[in-house]
Amino acid sequence: MLDSIEVGVVSGSVLAAAATVLFFFGPRQRTRARSEVGGAQEVDLMVDGGYRPDRIVVRAGVPVKLNVLRTDRSACSEQLVLGDLGVSRTLPTGRVVTIELPALTPGAYDFTCGMSMLRGRLIAEV
């Protein structure tokens, strides 16, 4: 039989596990790209141990400009890869890198760090 402390620890562990799953895999806030009249839609993407925003909604059929600024120095985040679009860029710390993307067809395009641990998603909607 478990004593009361063990029951507490097991219950706490179950709660911690549930919180971990919800924290990492739960729903995330979406950010819309700024639209420029007659031009590409622009998004400012900060890289600082993760991506902010990490859910970007853009209009399908309009070119996209990603202005990426990496402020951290972790080796993990120095590459930004949009695998589905064949785009990969090295991000120097503290400098803006502008990545120009073509007009996208509707769908979700994941972007990740070079090691696929940091993740974000570009969602093209009609």
């Binding site: 620890v9 562990s13 924290f23 991506y51 090295t90 710390t93 120009e100």
Partner: protein, 761 residues
């Protein structure tokens, strides 16, 4: 690549430029407005917007009125800093990074080592207050050495993402906080743990040495990793360093040195002897020889005079050149090559799909395993040691798990392999092409220009009775003098070599694929194939034709006024390296196929001479893709080698398209692999590179998976019941640090890849 990728676009007026500058020193939105106002007031600036979030100023200015330097100075006068893109800045940042890492590692070793010695002495070095001493020594390790790890972990968690820093921070943080509580408030631990370690009021165990040692080993691992990563990217850095950072521009007869970023299309650029060329352009004045080997692999210097093209990154010889800039910035051939390689290095190989999926969920899953480990040990371990065992095993799980080994397995090998390829003149367009290239079993080579020199030459002239060789050649050359056909060029070249006086035809008609008909000195001369002579009812050439074809030559028949007078045997000599290359390909287990539009005879001769397995002769240009499909229908995985322009359909049809001799024109999309030099030896090198790189990737993935699959259960104490094995967090951190370093070292072996040496065929 420039750190700021300035989207520099000209207006139709041709003088307006848009430039993005990185502005540092801004602390609030008011600063951004001030910078915006400052830039707007610079003469020539048409438009300016400063984005505080991205620290970016986007400026539209008149390049005739102002310059990037002027903009940067104006921002500096306002108390901020606008960066002119410079390739070296990234290297300086890396160097500063490494110095910081070294300092933090030194502190971790200096303060952590005594803690480990005290902890490992098993009471031999015990003294009153030793735990407090250990706490005091561990504190700088946690705060200074481990600070960036904790900050990075916090940043990741704020974004609800997780990387290795999260695992290390949680593991060492838990061990440290537990030990601090046990030191400052030992009775709490004893009470809370029903007697603690040894029971009845004995001091609870502390694990400062685990926290300090893990931080030290993680930093050591990162230090080794950063050295290895730097070496992995050497090839691209060396390519980028070929272009100088300063260019000399000629304005109104005066030479002026300007930063490379300020050179504009149309500027007259001066290159002195021994200098490297800053941008692409065409020579307007001067003569010199230029070493282009770094770009095209061609070892001989290329003579340059007015009208010749020059390329950024190539080395000027002994003359002074003035040229007009045609391509600047990211448009130069050198930058195109760098971009192709950089993009390719970042693409995903299909083989790494599983690793990518695993990497994405790795850290959260490890956290769940650590939580489960803690709970299981707390419940199953003896009451007096349950808290420490639960904690230690959970910490071991956190620090042994290494997502980096998994995450680095593919990109590290691609980075080294593709970088090395670029140095050898082999450009691989994507990881998928590389993977495809590693699985090729059949290579299709076009004969003319690929296996042969593409310069047909007259080998033999047969004259009918009553005619001399010279007469036959003179007539044929006169008739062919207006033709652009390669065989016609060969006839004219031979006539010229023999010093023959060739006349001009009074009239000339050409039938593509058959030959030419001309009036020469009042006589009707036919020069062409058997089909042409048959069509005009001319016969008698059969024997001569047979002789030449048997010798592997292409017969060009000559008739005068309806009578056959001679035959000219033409052959295209094989490339010097062709036989060696075919032999290399065959020794790699590849089936080598030749296709040609030529006759069976000459094709068979070349195939025999080179040791080729199979020949498709008489193939029209439009039929090349069909040959590729035929081979694919036999279940073969086909690589097609061609020039990337005429062969585009066949290259696209093949499992792997290899464009050969692309020189500085790297933007050819039909091919998955481009060989920069017109040397066939790049082909086995490319296929060998693909196979070796894929082998290294497979090894990396295997070890990274195996390491985690075995390491995590052992750290969780799964083998304890069977073997009594438990892994101390310290050993776990050593293993974790070594795993990613071993993946990098394995990838670095690709730097030693060599081109097959030229041998006499």
């Amino acid at each position: 690549m420039n750190a700021v990728e300035a989207a520099s676009s000209r207006s139709p007026a041709g003088a307006l430029e848009r430039m993005d500058l990185a502005v540092s020193g801004m602390t609030c939105a008011a600063c951004a407005r001030r910078v915006e106002r400052t830039l707007s007031e610079v003469e020539g600036v048409q438009e300016c917007s400063v984005n505080f979030a991205t620290r970016r100023a986007s400026v539209l200015f008149d390049a005739r009125t102002t310059s990037v330097s002027a903009l940067a100075h104006a921002v500096a006068d306002a108390g901020y800093r606008a960066e002119v893109p410079q390739a070296s800045t990234a290297e300086e940042t890396d160097a500063a990074e490494e110095r910081g890492l070294r300092r933090r590692l030194a502190v971790a070793v200096l303060f952590g080592l005594p803690v480990v010695v005290l902890a490992m002495s098993h009471g031999a070095l015990d003294f009153t207050g030793s735990t407090w001493v250990q706490l005091g020594l561990t504190l700088p390790v946690m705060v200074y050495s481990g600070g960036p790890i904790f900050r990075a972990a916090w940043a990741a968690l704020r974004h609800r993402s997780a990387d290795m820093n999260v695992l290390v921070a949680l593991g060492t943080g838990a061990a440290f906080i537990y030990s601090v509580v046990a030191t400052v408030w030992p009775t709490f631990m004893v009470a809370g743990d029903h007697g603690g370690h040894g029971g009845h009021g004995a001091a609870p165990p502390i694990y400062f040495e685990a926290a300090a040692a893990v931080i030290a080993f993680v930093l050591l691992g990162r230090f080794l990793e950063s050295r290895a990563r730097t070496r992995a990217g050497d090839a691209i850095r060396r390519l980028q360093a070929l272009a100088p950072s300063i260019a000399t521009v000629l304005e109104n007869g005066v030479e002026r040195e300007v930063p490379l970023a300020e050179v504009r299309v149309g500027d007259r650029v001066v290159v002195r002897p021994g200098q490297s060329i800053p941008v692409d352009g065409s020579v307007v004045d001067g003569t010199s020889s230029v070493d282009e080997s770094m770009l095209t692999g061609e070892s001989l210097p290329v003579e340059k005079a007015a009208g010749a093209e020059v390329f950024a990154g190539t080395m000027n010889g002994t003359g002074r050149l003035v040229f007009r800039a045609a391509k600047v910035g990211s448009d130069t051939a050198l930058q195109q090559i760098v971009q192709v390689v950089e993009r390719a290095q970042g693409t995903k190989a299909p083989i790494a799909r599983l690793a990518d999926v695993v990497s994405g969920v790795f850290t959260p899953v490890v956290l769940l395993i650590a939580i489960a480990t803690f709970a299981a040990w707390f419940v199953l371990a003896p009451e007096e040691t349950r808290l420490t065992m639960a904690l230690l095993n959970a910490v071991a799980v956190l620090v042994i798990a290494c997502p980096c080994a998994l995450g680095l397995a593919t990109p590290a090998a691609l980075m080294v392999g593709m970088g090395r390829g670029a140095q050898l003149g082999v450009l691989v367009k994507s990881a998928a092409s590389l993977e495809g290239a590693s699985r090729i079993d059949t290579v299709v080579l076009d004969k003319t220009g690929t296996l042969t020199q593409g310069r047909p030459a007259v080998v033999r002239v047969l004259a009918a009775s009553g005619m001399t060789e010279e007469e036959v050649l003179t007539l044929a050359a006169a008739a062919e003098s207006a033709s652009e056909h390669p065989l016609a060029r060969a006839v004219l070249s031979e006539a010229s070599n023999r010093g023959l006086k060739v006349g001009t035809p009074e009239s000339f008609t050409s039938t593509p694929g058959h030959g030419v008909e001309a009036q020469v000195g009042g006589r009707r001369v036919l020069v062409g194939s058997r089909r042409m002579l048959d069509g005009r009812g001319v016969s008698g050439s059969e024997d001569a034709e047979r002789v030449l074809t048997t010798d592997g030559q292409t017969p060009v028949l000559v008739a005068v006024d309806g009578r056959w007078v001679g035959a000219i045997g033409i052959a295209d000599p094989e490339r010097e390296e062709a036989a060696t290359v075919v032999q290399s390909l065959r020794s790699m287990g590849l089936h080598v196929v030749m296709l040609t539009g030529d006759h069976e005879g000459p094709a068979a001769r070349v195939a025999r001479a080179l040791g080729i397995d199979r020949v498709f002769a008489g193939v029209l240009p439009s039929g090349k893709a069909h040959v590729v499909r035929t081979l694919q229908a036999e279940g073969r995985r086909v690589a097609m080698v061609g020039d990337g322009v005429n062969d585009a359909p066949a290259l696209a049809e093949a499992d792997l398209g290899v464009a050969m001799g692309t020189g500085t024109d790297v933007a050819r999309d039909a091919a998955g692999v481009a060989l920069l030099r017109s040397d066939l030896r790049g082909l086995p090198a490319a296929l060998g590179l693909a196979r070796t790189t894929m082998r290294v990737i497979r090894q990396n993935l295997f070890w990274a998976f195996l390491y985690n699959v075995l390491g995590i259960p052992v750290a969780a104490g799964l083998l304890y019941g069977l073997t009594g094995w438990l892994l101390s967090p310290m050993l776990a951190s050593v293993a974790m640090s070594l795993s990613s370093v071993s993946v990098l070292l394995n990838s670095l072996r690709l730097r030693r890849l060599r081109l097959p040496a030229p041998q006499a065929a």
